[in-house]
């Protein structure tokens, strides 16, 4: 116990972990950008961004470029804090079992 408690179950999935990693270091990324970087299908990506949005870890901004809809994703302060805590926990565990 202890350290394991700081592991965030929401980030215990490759795609959600990926979305958060990318948004940590970019002001915003659009849907296609995420799709290319993570190499996933539309449906798959949409369901995971939805999960993170519901947790208020990321926010979504919809706009139009010409006539094309464009969806941009950005991390929220809450999401940044949660993910940083998750990374710290991972590092602590690795150090202990190292």
């Amino acid at each position: 116990m202890g350290l394991i408690d700081n592991i965030n179950k929401l980030f215990d999935h490759r795609i959600r972990l990926g979305i958060m990693s990318i948004l940590m270091v970019n002001e915003y990324v659009d849907f296609n950008g995420l799709k290319e970087l993570l190499n996933v299908t539309d449906g798959n990506l949409a369901s995971h961004t939805k999960t993170l949005e519901n947790a208020e870890y990321i926010k979504i901004e919809k706009s139009f470029i010409g006539k094309k809809p464009n969806t941009k994703y950005a991390i929220t302060p809450l999401g940044r804090k949660a993910f940083q805590k998750h990374i710290n926990a991972l590092e602590q565990i690795i150090k202990q079992h190292g």
Partner: protein, 202 residues
């Protein structure tokens, strides 16, 4: 076993952070070639354009036009080479050549560079030739430092070196061409070789 999975997670996080925010495929070879173009250009300028003692180069003289033509040719060749070799390297690394990262890289590179370019042209128009080499080095260095946060490697050290060289050049009037060769020729060749042999030959 669990801790192996956590280690994989950390590795994945780091890889994605890098891949999503930094363009890693800048070509070292193109740096070496840009340096060689610059040196060739400077030699041509020295042979054909250098004013004889007592002679002045003015904006409308044919020598000045030659000089501008040489400069533009060096710049154009360097840009074309960089574009071709970088595209090739990006393809090999399976990295996108035109995405958010390269856009950030380019915009951040061009802001100081264009500012400097325009400033130099304004100065040339009011007959201030003396500091041209120094200004080119300084603004180019600032452009590199500014763009370096969007790429890997040691581009920022190349930038610092160009800035320092530019400042020394400003303090020693009359040696503009020599400093220009050192900054755009020799530094590019040294930096390009370091990237080429340390990273690409791995």
């Amino acid at each position: 076993m669990e801790s192996k999975k956590y280690l994989d997670d950390i590795t994945e996080i780091k890889a994605l952070m890098t891949r999503s925010s930094r363009f890693i495929s800048l070509s070292g070879l193109s740096g070496i070639l840009a340096g060689l173009y610059a040196i060739t250009g400077a030699i041509l300028a020295y042979i054909f354009v250098m004013p004889e003692s007592g002679e002045y180069v003015t904006l409308h003289s044919y020598k000045f036009r030659y000089l501008i033509a040489i400069l533009l040719a060096v710049a154009a060749l360097s840009i074309i080479t960089a574009f071709l070799l970088t595209t090739r390297k990006a393809k090999k690394n399976k990295e996108a050549i035109w995405d958010m990262t390269t856009r950030n890289l380019l915009v951040n590179f061009l802001i100081p560079l264009l500012t400097g370019g325009i400033y130099i042209i304004i100065k040339l128009n009011s007959q201030h030739y003396g500091l041209t080499a120094s200004l080119m080095l300084i603004f180019y260095g600032l452009a590199l430092v500014n763009a370096s946060k969007y790429t890997l490697g040691n581009v920022k050290y190349l930038g610092y070196s160009e800035i320092i060289l530019g400042l020394i050049c400003a303090a020693l009037p009359g040696y503009g061409l020599l400093f220009w060769v050192a900054g755009f020729g020799i530094l590019h060749i040294i930096y390009g070789s370091m990237v080429y042999f340390l990273e690409e030959k791995k």
